[in-house]
Amino acid sequence: MLNAMQSKNRTINLFYVPALVLFAFFVVYPFVKGIYLSMTNWNGYSRSFKIIGLANYKNLFADKNVRRAFVNTLIYGAGSTVIQNLLGILLAVLLNQKFRGRGFVRTVIYLPVMIAPLIMGYIMYFFFNYSRGALNDILKLLSLAPVDWLADGNRSVWILTLVNSLQFVGISMVIYLAGLQNIPGVYYEAADIDGITPSKKFLFITLPLLMPAITSSVTLNLIGGLKLYDVIIALTGGGPGYDTNSLSTLIYRYYFGGERAGYASAIGLVMFVFIMIVSNIVVRGLQKRQVEL
């Protein structure tokens, strides 16, 4: 019997094989090869290249495009997380009330989640465009001067953050709705008996009991925001100049546009480490605050 169990233990591991082969070949191998390439001056296609040690890493910390992309990536990640979660909780609380058409409103808010971020980016072009943009049409209607929304890099970074947040706020809303529905009504009844005000109820009952939902939602938003790519390509292409690049789009640009594969590889690895650290700190921090129901 013991022998049978042991052999069962081993045969069951065969089920891993297809997945682990794929991971090994398309995740681990590229990762290791990336470490090697990041120490070379490879241009992306040539057969000959030199090992140049840590020079790429030294250069990237002095590269103002990298620094800019680094800051932007943080804004895309943190900004989207904050906006999506605040708005997500608000929408969830609003749409947890009973009223006619509630289902329809939820559907409409979730609908953009289905659309390719790339396509959303192109649609947004028709909003933020200077000469014919839909937003400037509203400004003109109010007899205000039109704004060249995407001409300024700093503003564009926030516009991209906002577009990303609004497109995916439906995810946070749905997670929070599920969270709200899991909170037992007795807590609120008890609070009513004690005469607690609605804002205190929210602060001391709803919010703490939503911690698991907050953890999930923050994790998803943060990872999504830090990976931001498609919508940037569609709406600003990383421009004006290099002002709105995230690390993802910058790597693409240096690799395919700049023929600096070794260098792009080094940026990729730094980005990898950076995102792993940020996500882990945030997720661990949040998990500690969860309360048991």
Binding site: F23, I115, F127
Partner: protein
């Protein structure tokens, strides 16, 4: 007081609907506007036309792109269901140290921005002659979808009583037969979730397809649309009509299967 609340709520709801429907509205007005019509994007054209839609189908070949995207999506989803259900089985049923390492590794992959290893991944794809090959994009998409699938399946299998496995073992089933005869038949609901989530991801993928499928005759939906918006031989109205046609299948699927989409989203987010 109550009435004031209701009024406020109604105003908020109208504002929300306006913001979230505006992109779809603009997409529609432009798609049916003649390219010579310079009226505001907010307004439907006074002389609506089907020319953009026609150009999207005939000149831009959007249906071809939809077909190719559907092919890639179906392949990825089918493979993902099989491979991730397989991998989830030992993960859910055995808590050895090796399994814990695998679990941490899989969660780690979910966080990795794939573009951080773009250079080496692309060079590997070049060296295995995967550029402009459907199998390459399918395998890469599959790999990066797997963690989510494995995660969902593992959670689900954990909820199936181990007693069933043990009964099968006593009856002389090895792990293989236990999986196929006992576990697999119960996986239908979670399979729907996995399939739905990963088909949306594949349908909307841009970052992988962009560098693996470089020739325009293999363009997927997102690739065609990005090329239409950046090239001059097709005007913006046609590109917009393409976008409208391209999102229709997703929107319709979502409206019909909404319940599953949202449940899937919730299942995948609870860690």
């Amino acid at each position: 007081m109550r009435k004031a609340n209701t009024v406020l709520r109604t105003i908020a709801i109208i504002a929300i609907l306006a913001v979230f429907l505006a992109p779809f509205w603009i997409l529609t007005t432009i798609s049916f506007k003649p390219s010579t019509d310079t009226s505001s994007y907010w307004l439907l054209s006074s002389t609506p036309t089907l020319n953009n839609i026609k150009a999207a189908i005939e000149k831009a070949g959007i249906f071809g792109a939809i077909g190719r995207t559907a092919l890639i999506t179906v392949c990825v989803v089918v493979l993902e269901v099989i491979v991730s259900a397989f991998a989830a089985y030992p993960l859910a049923r055995r808590s050895t140290r090796f399994n814990k390492v695998v679990q941490a590794f899989i969660l780690g992959i979910m966080m990795v921005p794939p573009l951080s290893i773009l250079v080496s991944l692309y060079s590997i794809i070049v060296s295995i002659h995967g550029v402009n090959q459907y199998w390459a994009v399918i395998l890469v998409l599959l790999t990066y979808q797997l963690p989510q699938g494995i995660f969902l399946y593992a959670n689900f299998i954990r909820s199936i009583p181990v007693a069933l496995d043990e009964a099968a073992t006593i009856d002389g089933c090895g792990p293989g037969r236990t999986f196929f005869l006992v576990i697999m038949p119960q996986l239908k609901p979670v399979t729907a979730t996995v399939a739905i989530l990963s088909s949306v991801n594949c349908w909307n993928d841009f970052q992988f397809s962009r560098y693996i499928l470089q020739t325009s005759r293999m363009n997927t939906v997102t690739l065609s649309i990005s090329s239409f918006f950046s090239q001059t031989y097709i005007d913006l109205s046609t590109a917009t009509a393409c976008a409208l046609i391209a999102i229709l299948p997703v929107v319709i699927c979502f409206l019909v299967l909404q319940k599953y989409f949202i449940q899937g989203m919730i299942d995948s987010s609870v860690k």
